[in-house]
Protein backbone atom coordinates (compact mmCIF):
# COMPACT_ATOMS: atom_id res chain seq x y z
CA UNK A 1 0.00 0.00 0.00
CA UNK A 2 2.40 2.65 1.22
CA UNK A 3 5.06 3.91 -1.14
CA UNK A 4 6.90 6.54 0.90
CA UNK A 5 6.96 5.08 4.38
CA UNK A 6 6.86 1.47 5.47
CA UNK A 7 4.04 0.75 7.91
CA UNK A 8 5.44 -0.83 11.03
CA UNK A 9 2.27 -2.79 11.59
CA UNK A 10 -0.05 -4.41 9.06
CA UNK A 11 -3.16 -2.46 8.07
CA UNK A 12 -5.46 -4.74 9.99
CA UNK A 13 -3.34 -5.61 13.00
CA UNK A 14 -5.06 -6.78 16.17
CA UNK A 15 -4.81 -3.26 17.54
CA UNK A 16 -6.39 -1.74 14.46
CA UNK A 17 -9.17 -4.29 14.27
CA UNK A 18 -9.92 -3.50 17.87
CA UNK A 19 -10.45 0.15 16.89
CA UNK A 20 -13.23 -1.07 14.63
CA UNK A 21 -14.86 -3.59 16.96
CA UNK A 22 -14.54 -2.02 20.41
CA UNK A 23 -17.10 0.73 19.74
CA UNK A 24 -19.64 -1.88 18.72
CA UNK A 25 -19.80 -3.17 22.28
CA UNK A 26 -17.30 -2.30 25.02
CA UNK A 27 -16.96 1.39 24.24
CA UNK A 28 -20.18 1.97 22.31
CA UNK A 29 -20.70 5.70 21.86
CA UNK A 30 -24.39 5.58 22.71
CA UNK A 31 -24.88 2.83 25.27
CA UNK A 32 -21.55 3.09 27.13
CA UNK A 33 -20.28 6.62 26.59
CA UNK A 34 -23.86 7.99 26.35
CA UNK A 35 -23.00 10.44 23.56
CA UNK A 36 -25.14 11.42 20.60
CA UNK A 37 -28.37 10.53 22.40
CA UNK A 38 -30.24 13.54 21.01
CA UNK A 39 -29.99 12.46 17.39
CA UNK A 40 -30.56 8.82 18.39
CA UNK A 41 -33.99 9.83 19.66
CA UNK A 42 -34.83 12.19 16.85
CA UNK A 43 -34.21 10.21 13.68
CA UNK A 44 -35.18 6.68 14.71
CA UNK A 45 -38.95 6.69 14.11
CA UNK A 46 -38.28 4.98 10.76
CA UNK A 47 -35.43 2.78 9.56
CA UNK A 48 -34.56 4.73 6.42
CA UNK A 49 -33.68 8.05 8.09
CA UNK A 50 -31.79 6.17 10.81
CA UNK A 51 -29.63 4.46 8.21
CA UNK A 52 -29.03 7.65 6.22
CA UNK A 53 -28.16 9.45 9.45
CA UNK A 54 -25.70 6.68 10.41
CA UNK A 55 -24.04 6.82 7.01
CA UNK A 56 -23.83 10.62 7.19
CA UNK A 57 -22.24 10.46 10.64
CA UNK A 58 -19.85 7.79 9.36
CA UNK A 59 -18.73 9.94 6.43
CA UNK A 60 -18.35 13.03 8.59
CA UNK A 61 -16.57 11.23 11.42
CA UNK A 62 -14.17 9.22 9.25
CA UNK A 63 -13.33 12.20 7.03
CA UNK A 64 -12.84 14.66 9.89
CA UNK A 65 -10.78 12.11 11.81
CA UNK A 66 -8.48 11.64 8.82
CA UNK A 67 -8.16 15.37 8.15
CA UNK A 68 -7.40 16.16 11.79
CA UNK A 69 -4.94 13.27 12.01
CA UNK A 70 -3.14 14.62 8.93
CA UNK A 71 -3.05 18.15 10.32
CA UNK A 72 -2.38 17.13 13.91
CA UNK A 73 1.28 18.20 14.02
CA UNK A 74 0.57 21.67 12.62
CA UNK A 75 -2.53 22.56 14.58
CA UNK A 76 -1.72 25.24 17.16
CA UNK A 77 -3.04 23.84 20.47
CA UNK A 78 -4.59 27.17 21.41
CA UNK A 79 -7.05 27.08 18.50
CA UNK A 80 -7.37 23.31 18.10
CA UNK A 81 -11.07 23.19 19.05
CA UNK A 82 -11.84 25.89 16.48
CA UNK A 83 -9.87 24.00 13.82
CA UNK A 84 -11.76 20.81 14.67
CA UNK A 85 -15.07 22.62 14.41
CA UNK A 86 -14.18 24.15 11.06
CA UNK A 87 -13.32 20.70 9.70
CA UNK A 88 -16.50 19.12 11.12
CA UNK A 89 -18.71 21.96 9.91
CA UNK A 90 -17.26 21.78 6.41
CA UNK A 91 -17.87 18.02 6.23
CA UNK A 92 -21.41 18.34 7.57
CA UNK A 93 -22.36 21.04 5.09
CA UNK A 94 -20.92 18.94 2.25
CA UNK A 95 -22.95 15.91 3.38
CA UNK A 96 -26.07 18.04 3.73
CA UNK A 97 -25.66 19.44 0.21
CA UNK A 98 -25.12 15.99 -1.26
CA UNK A 99 -28.22 14.64 0.51
CA UNK A 100 -30.28 17.58 -0.75
CA UNK A 101 -29.09 16.90 -4.28
CA UNK A 102 -29.55 13.15 -4.42
CA UNK A 103 -31.93 11.93 -1.67
CA UNK A 104 -34.17 14.94 -1.26
CA UNK A 105 -37.03 13.13 0.51
CA UNK A 106 -34.78 11.68 3.18
CA UNK A 107 -33.01 15.00 3.54
CA UNK A 108 -36.37 16.64 4.25
CA UNK A 109 -37.15 14.03 6.90
CA UNK A 110 -33.79 14.52 8.58
CA UNK A 111 -34.25 18.29 8.28
CA UNK A 112 -32.18 20.03 10.92
CA UNK A 113 -30.59 16.87 12.27
CA UNK A 114 -28.04 16.68 9.47
CA UNK A 115 -26.92 20.18 10.36
CA UNK A 116 -26.87 19.17 13.99
CA UNK A 117 -24.27 16.45 13.30
CA UNK A 118 -21.90 19.37 13.93
CA UNK A 119 -22.91 19.29 17.59
CA UNK A 120 -22.88 15.50 17.86
CA UNK A 121 -20.55 14.93 20.81
CA UNK A 122 -19.26 11.68 19.33
CA UNK A 123 -17.48 13.54 16.55
CA UNK A 124 -15.68 16.16 18.58
CA UNK A 125 -15.02 13.55 21.23
CA UNK A 126 -13.23 11.28 18.77
CA UNK A 127 -11.28 14.14 17.17
CA UNK A 128 -10.05 15.40 20.51
CA UNK A 129 -9.46 12.00 22.12
CA UNK A 130 -8.11 10.04 19.19
CA UNK A 131 -7.36 11.85 15.94
CA UNK A 132 -5.26 14.57 17.58
CA UNK A 133 -2.70 11.98 18.69
CA UNK A 134 -2.85 9.23 16.07
CA UNK A 135 -1.93 8.56 12.47
CA UNK A 136 -4.54 8.92 9.70
CA UNK A 137 -5.16 5.20 9.14
CA UNK A 138 -5.94 4.29 12.76
CA UNK A 139 -7.94 7.53 12.98
CA UNK A 140 -9.93 6.47 9.92
CA UNK A 141 -10.65 3.06 11.46
CA UNK A 142 -11.58 4.69 14.75
CA UNK A 143 -14.03 6.95 12.90
CA UNK A 144 -15.62 4.06 11.01
CA UNK A 145 -15.75 1.95 14.18
CA UNK A 146 -17.44 4.60 16.29
CA UNK A 147 -19.90 5.46 13.55
CA UNK A 148 -20.71 1.75 13.22
CA UNK A 149 -21.31 1.53 16.96
CA UNK A 150 -23.56 4.58 16.74
CA UNK A 151 -25.35 3.28 13.65
CA UNK A 152 -25.85 -0.18 15.12
CA UNK A 153 -27.80 1.24 18.06
CA UNK A 154 -29.74 3.61 15.80
CA UNK A 155 -30.79 0.79 13.51
CA UNK A 156 -31.84 -1.45 16.42
CA UNK A 157 -33.95 1.34 17.91
CA UNK A 158 -35.42 2.28 14.54
CA UNK A 159 -36.25 -1.38 13.80
CA UNK A 160 -38.41 -1.72 16.90
CA UNK A 161 -39.90 1.75 16.65
CA UNK A 162 -40.95 1.37 13.04
CA UNK A 163 -42.17 -2.23 13.46
CA UNK A 164 -44.22 -1.59 16.59
CA UNK A 165 -45.10 2.03 15.91
CA UNK A 166 -46.07 1.87 12.25
CA UNK A 167 -46.21 -1.88 11.52
CA UNK A 168 -43.78 -1.39 8.63
CA UNK A 169 -40.07 -1.75 7.85
CA UNK A 170 -38.59 0.55 5.20
CA UNK A 171 -42.21 1.61 4.67
CA UNK A 172 -43.14 -1.92 3.59
CA UNK A 173 -46.03 -3.37 5.55
CA UNK A 174 -44.79 -6.22 7.77
CA UNK A 175 -47.67 -6.79 10.14
CA UNK A 176 -50.40 -8.37 7.98
CA UNK A 177 -53.71 -6.61 7.47
CA UNK A 178 -55.42 -9.58 9.13
CA UNK A 179 -53.97 -8.58 12.51
CA UNK A 180 -55.56 -5.16 12.21
CA UNK A 181 -58.88 -6.73 11.29
CA UNK A 182 -58.70 -8.63 14.57
CA UNK A 183 -58.22 -5.42 16.48
CA UNK A 184 -54.42 -5.03 16.54
CA UNK A 185 -53.44 -1.37 16.82
CA UNK A 186 -50.06 0.24 16.16
CA UNK A 187 -48.45 1.53 19.31
CA UNK A 188 -48.45 5.28 18.70
CA UNK A 189 -46.20 5.86 21.70
CA UNK A 190 -43.34 4.11 19.87
CA UNK A 191 -43.26 6.98 17.36
CA UNK A 192 -42.67 9.53 20.13
CA UNK A 193 -39.18 10.31 21.50
CA UNK A 194 -39.82 8.96 25.05
CA UNK A 195 -40.07 5.40 23.76
CA UNK A 196 -36.77 5.85 21.93
CA UNK A 197 -35.15 6.71 25.24
CA UNK A 198 -36.76 3.68 26.90
CA UNK A 199 -35.58 1.50 24.01
CA UNK A 200 -32.04 2.80 24.54
CA UNK A 201 -32.44 1.90 28.21
CA UNK A 202 -33.54 -1.63 27.38
CA UNK A 203 -30.59 -2.04 24.99
CA UNK A 204 -28.18 -0.89 27.73
CA UNK A 205 -29.79 -3.35 30.15
CA UNK A 206 -29.45 -6.29 27.77
CA UNK A 207 -25.90 -5.28 26.83
CA UNK A 208 -24.82 -5.10 30.46
CA UNK A 209 -26.45 -8.41 31.23
CA UNK A 210 -24.29 -10.11 28.63
CA UNK A 211 -21.13 -8.00 29.01
CA UNK A 212 -19.85 -8.41 32.55
CA UNK A 213 -16.88 -6.06 32.01
CA UNK A 214 -19.23 -3.11 31.88
CA UNK A 215 -20.68 -3.66 35.34
CA UNK A 216 -19.19 -1.41 38.01
CA UNK A 217 -17.65 -3.07 41.07
CA UNK A 218 -19.82 -1.74 43.85
Amino acid sequence: MSTEKKEREPLFSTKNVKLLTAPLNLSNPITVQVLGICSALAVTAKLMPAIVMSISVMVVLAASNVVIALLRKGIPPRIRIIVQLVVIATMVILVDQVLKAFVYDVSKQLSVFVGLIITNCIIMGRLEAFAMSNKPWPAFLDGIGNALGYGLILVIIAFFRELLGSGTLFDIRIIPQGFYDFGYVNNGLMILPPMALITVGVIIWIQRYYTRELIEEN
Binding site: I79, V86, I93, V98, Y104
Partner: protein
Protein backbone atom coordinates in the same frame (compact mmCIF):
# COMPACT_ATOMS: atom_id res chain seq x y z
CA UNK B 1 5.44 27.18 20.92
CA UNK B 2 3.41 28.59 18.08
CA UNK B 3 3.63 32.33 17.48
CA UNK B 4 0.52 34.46 17.14
CA UNK B 5 1.46 35.11 13.53
CA UNK B 6 1.50 31.39 12.81
CA UNK B 7 -1.88 30.93 14.48
CA UNK B 8 -3.44 33.72 12.41
CA UNK B 9 -1.93 32.44 9.18
CA UNK B 10 -3.01 28.90 9.99
CA UNK B 11 -6.58 29.96 10.74
CA UNK B 12 -6.80 32.15 7.63
CA UNK B 13 -5.56 29.44 5.26
CA UNK B 14 -7.82 26.81 6.82
CA UNK B 15 -10.88 28.99 6.48
CA UNK B 16 -10.08 29.93 2.88
CA UNK B 17 -9.68 26.26 1.92
CA UNK B 18 -12.94 25.37 3.66
CA UNK B 19 -14.78 28.23 1.95
CA UNK B 20 -13.43 27.26 -1.46
CA UNK B 21 -14.52 23.65 -0.98
CA UNK B 22 -18.01 24.61 0.11
CA UNK B 23 -18.51 27.11 -2.71
CA UNK B 24 -17.40 24.53 -5.23
CA UNK B 25 -19.82 21.96 -3.82
CA UNK B 26 -22.67 24.47 -3.77
CA UNK B 27 -22.11 25.42 -7.42
CA UNK B 28 -21.71 21.83 -8.63
CA UNK B 29 -24.74 20.46 -6.78
CA UNK B 30 -27.09 23.35 -7.49
CA UNK B 31 -28.70 21.93 -10.67
CA UNK B 32 -29.59 18.70 -8.86
CA UNK B 33 -31.02 20.53 -5.87
CA UNK B 34 -33.07 22.84 -8.07
CA UNK B 35 -34.53 19.88 -9.90
CA UNK B 36 -35.62 18.39 -6.57
CA UNK B 37 -37.23 21.66 -5.56
CA UNK B 38 -39.06 21.88 -8.90
CA UNK B 39 -40.30 18.30 -8.44
CA UNK B 40 -41.53 19.18 -4.98
CA UNK B 41 -43.37 22.21 -6.35
CA UNK B 42 -45.04 20.07 -9.03
CA UNK B 43 -45.92 17.49 -6.40
CA UNK B 44 -47.65 20.16 -4.33
CA UNK B 45 -49.66 21.40 -7.32
CA UNK B 46 -50.78 17.87 -8.20
CA UNK B 47 -51.53 17.00 -4.57
CA UNK B 48 -53.82 20.01 -4.10
CA UNK B 49 -55.97 18.75 -6.97
CA UNK B 50 -55.90 15.30 -5.34
CA UNK B 51 -54.22 13.56 -8.27
CA UNK B 52 -53.51 10.00 -7.18
CA UNK B 53 -50.43 7.85 -7.68
CA UNK B 54 -47.87 10.66 -7.70
CA UNK B 55 -44.40 9.61 -6.51
CA UNK B 56 -41.08 11.42 -6.66
CA UNK B 57 -40.03 9.39 -9.69
CA UNK B 58 -43.06 10.05 -11.87
CA UNK B 59 -43.93 13.60 -10.73
CA UNK B 60 -42.62 15.34 -13.85
CA UNK B 61 -44.45 12.90 -16.12
CA UNK B 62 -47.71 13.33 -14.16
CA UNK B 63 -47.31 17.09 -14.15
CA UNK B 64 -46.93 17.24 -17.92
CA UNK B 65 -49.85 14.88 -18.33
CA UNK B 66 -52.37 16.54 -16.02
CA UNK B 67 -51.60 20.23 -16.34
CA UNK B 68 -53.29 21.24 -19.57
CA UNK B 69 -52.81 24.99 -19.39
CA UNK B 70 -50.77 27.56 -17.51
CA UNK B 71 -51.91 31.14 -17.10
CA UNK B 72 -49.89 34.19 -16.17
CA UNK B 73 -52.25 36.62 -14.46
CA UNK B 74 -51.53 40.32 -14.07
CA UNK B 75 -52.75 43.00 -11.69
CA UNK B 76 -55.87 43.78 -13.73
CA UNK B 77 -56.83 40.13 -13.98
CA UNK B 78 -55.81 39.65 -17.61
CA UNK B 79 -54.55 36.15 -18.23
CA UNK B 80 -51.98 35.07 -20.73
CA UNK B 81 -52.37 31.44 -21.66
CA UNK B 82 -49.64 28.92 -22.27
CA UNK B 83 -50.35 25.54 -23.78
CA UNK B 84 -47.73 23.18 -25.02
CA UNK B 85 -48.58 20.52 -27.52
CA UNK B 86 -45.45 18.53 -26.72
CA UNK B 87 -46.60 18.17 -23.15
CA UNK B 88 -43.71 20.07 -21.61
CA UNK B 89 -45.63 22.14 -19.09
CA UNK B 90 -42.64 22.27 -16.77
CA UNK B 91 -41.00 24.79 -19.10
CA UNK B 92 -44.02 27.06 -19.10
CA UNK B 93 -43.70 30.73 -18.10
CA UNK B 94 -46.06 30.34 -15.14
CA UNK B 95 -43.94 27.61 -13.57
CA UNK B 96 -40.89 29.86 -13.61
CA UNK B 97 -42.58 32.66 -11.67
CA UNK B 98 -41.08 33.34 -8.24
CA UNK B 99 -44.05 34.00 -5.94
CA UNK B 100 -41.86 35.71 -3.37
CA UNK B 101 -40.65 38.36 -5.82
CA UNK B 102 -44.09 38.93 -7.33
CA UNK B 103 -45.79 39.34 -3.95
CA UNK B 104 -43.07 41.77 -2.94
CA UNK B 105 -43.80 43.80 -6.08
CA UNK B 106 -47.46 43.72 -5.15
CA UNK B 107 -46.72 45.03 -1.67
CA UNK B 108 -44.88 47.96 -3.24
CA UNK B 109 -47.82 48.65 -5.54
CA UNK B 110 -45.94 47.70 -8.71
CA UNK B 111 -47.19 45.54 -11.56
CA UNK B 112 -46.96 41.84 -10.81
CA UNK B 113 -47.62 38.50 -12.49
CA UNK B 114 -48.97 35.43 -10.77
CA UNK B 115 -49.22 31.85 -12.02
CA UNK B 116 -52.37 29.75 -12.39
CA UNK B 117 -52.30 26.09 -13.33
CA UNK B 118 -55.26 24.36 -14.92
CA UNK B 119 -55.48 20.64 -14.38
CA UNK B 120 -57.82 18.40 -16.28
CA UNK B 121 -59.05 15.66 -14.01
CA UNK B 122 -61.80 13.32 -15.19
CA UNK B 123 -62.89 15.93 -17.75
CA UNK B 124 -63.22 18.71 -15.19
CA UNK B 125 -60.99 21.75 -15.09
CA UNK B 126 -59.40 22.50 -11.75
CA UNK B 127 -57.73 25.88 -11.19
CA UNK B 128 -54.71 25.84 -8.93
CA UNK B 129 -53.40 29.01 -7.37
CA UNK B 130 -50.08 28.93 -5.50
CA UNK B 131 -49.92 30.66 -2.11
CA UNK B 132 -47.11 32.17 -0.12
CA UNK B 133 -47.01 33.91 3.24
CA UNK B 134 -45.33 34.08 6.61
CA UNK B 135 -45.59 31.70 9.53
CA UNK B 136 -44.02 31.96 12.94
CA UNK B 137 -40.39 31.12 12.15
CA UNK B 138 -40.21 31.60 8.40
CA UNK B 139 -42.08 31.41 5.14
CA UNK B 140 -45.07 29.16 4.58
CA UNK B 141 -46.46 28.32 1.16
CA UNK B 142 -48.94 26.06 -0.54
CA UNK B 143 -51.51 25.65 -3.27
CA UNK B 144 -55.26 26.05 -3.33
CA UNK B 145 -57.24 24.13 -5.95
CA UNK B 146 -60.62 25.51 -7.02
CA UNK B 147 -63.41 24.05 -9.11
CA UNK B 148 -64.07 25.78 -12.41
CA UNK B 149 -66.64 28.00 -10.69
CA UNK B 150 -63.55 29.51 -9.00
CA UNK B 151 -65.40 29.41 -5.72
CA UNK B 152 -65.45 25.90 -4.29
CA UNK B 153 -62.21 24.50 -2.88
CA UNK B 154 -61.18 21.10 -4.23
CA UNK B 155 -58.14 20.78 -2.02
CA UNK B 156 -55.17 22.56 -0.50
CA UNK B 157 -51.59 21.77 0.36
CA UNK B 158 -49.31 23.65 2.71
CA UNK B 159 -45.63 23.49 3.40
CA UNK B 160 -43.28 25.48 5.56
CA UNK B 161 -39.64 26.25 6.10
CA UNK B 162 -39.37 25.66 9.81
CA UNK B 163 -42.60 25.83 11.80
CA UNK B 164 -42.63 24.15 15.21
CA UNK B 165 -43.01 20.36 14.85
CA UNK B 166 -46.24 19.12 16.38
CA UNK B 167 -47.73 22.62 16.54
CA UNK B 168 -47.43 25.00 13.59
CA UNK B 169 -45.98 22.27 11.39
CA UNK B 170 -49.34 20.46 11.62
CA UNK B 171 -50.58 22.65 8.74
CA UNK B 172 -49.07 20.07 6.37
CA UNK B 173 -51.19 17.21 7.76
CA UNK B 174 -54.17 15.80 5.89
CA UNK B 175 -56.31 16.37 8.97
CA UNK B 176 -55.81 20.11 8.65
CA UNK B 177 -55.91 20.30 4.86
CA UNK B 178 -59.02 18.21 4.29
CA UNK B 179 -61.07 20.71 6.29
CA UNK B 180 -60.77 23.07 3.33
CA UNK B 181 -62.44 20.71 0.86
CA UNK B 182 -65.86 22.00 -0.17
CA UNK B 183 -65.45 25.40 1.48
CA UNK B 184 -66.27 28.43 -0.66
CA UNK B 185 -64.52 31.74 -1.23
CA UNK B 186 -67.58 33.85 -2.05
CA UNK B 187 -70.87 34.27 -0.21
CA UNK B 188 -74.28 34.27 -1.83
CA UNK B 189 -74.03 37.98 -2.69
CA UNK B 190 -70.83 37.24 -4.55
CA UNK B 191 -68.55 39.16 -2.20
CA UNK B 192 -65.13 37.74 -1.41
CA UNK B 193 -64.95 36.12 2.03
CA UNK B 194 -61.63 34.21 1.70
CA UNK B 195 -61.29 31.16 3.94
CA UNK B 196 -60.84 31.96 7.57
CA UNK B 197 -58.69 29.86 9.87
CA UNK B 198 -60.56 30.31 13.11
CA UNK B 199 -58.98 29.99 16.52
CA UNK B 200 -61.32 28.00 18.74
CA UNK B 201 -62.99 26.32 15.77
CA UNK B 202 -65.10 27.28 12.78
CA UNK B 203 -68.19 26.39 14.80
CA UNK B 204 -67.76 29.73 16.58
CA UNK B 205 -68.66 31.56 13.37
CA UNK B 206 -72.26 32.52 12.57
CA UNK B 207 -74.15 29.78 10.73
CA UNK B 208 -73.97 31.42 7.29
CA UNK B 209 -70.21 32.01 7.64
CA UNK B 210 -69.22 28.47 8.53
CA UNK B 211 -68.82 27.54 4.88
CA UNK B 212 -65.93 30.04 4.77
CA UNK B 213 -64.09 28.86 7.91
CA UNK B 214 -61.87 26.04 9.13
CA UNK B 215 -60.47 25.16 12.57
CA UNK B 216 -57.09 26.59 13.54
CA UNK B 217 -54.40 24.46 15.16
CA UNK B 218 -54.22 24.43 18.95
CA UNK B 219 -50.85 25.73 20.08
CA UNK B 220 -50.10 26.93 16.56
CA UNK B 221 -51.88 30.27 16.67
CA UNK B 222 -49.32 32.35 14.83
CA UNK B 223 -48.90 29.77 12.07
CA UNK B 224 -52.70 29.44 11.79
CA UNK B 225 -53.04 33.21 11.53
CA UNK B 226 -50.28 33.10 8.94
CA UNK B 227 -52.27 30.61 6.86
CA UNK B 228 -55.38 32.79 7.24
CA UNK B 229 -53.55 35.93 6.11
CA UNK B 230 -51.74 34.09 3.33
CA UNK B 231 -54.98 32.83 1.78
CA UNK B 232 -56.61 36.22 2.11
CA UNK B 233 -53.69 38.30 0.80
CA UNK B 234 -52.73 36.09 -2.10
CA UNK B 235 -56.29 35.49 -3.23
CA UNK B 236 -56.91 39.24 -3.06
CA UNK B 237 -54.09 39.58 -5.57
CA UNK B 238 -55.84 37.02 -7.78
CA UNK B 239 -59.26 38.61 -7.22
CA UNK B 240 -59.48 40.63 -10.47
CA UNK B 241 -58.71 37.45 -12.41
CA UNK B 242 -61.18 35.37 -10.42
CA UNK B 243 -63.94 38.00 -10.81
CA UNK B 244 -63.33 38.19 -14.55
CA UNK B 245 -63.53 34.44 -14.96
CA UNK B 246 -66.65 34.21 -12.81
CA UNK B 247 -68.37 36.95 -14.81
CA UNK B 248 -67.97 34.97 -18.02
Amino acid sequence: MYTNGYIFRYAAILVIIAAALLSLAAVLLKPFQEKNIAIEKMGGILASADVEGVETKNTIQFFNEYVVEELVVDKEGNAESYKDTDGKMEDGPAFKIDMKKELYKKSKGEAFHLPVYIINKNGESIYILPLRGVGLWGPIWGNIALKNDLNTVVGVTFDHKGETPGLGAEITTTAFCEQFIGKTLFNDDGSFMSIMVVKGGAAKLPQNMQIHGVDAISGGTITSNGVNDMIKDVLTAYLPFIQKQRAQ
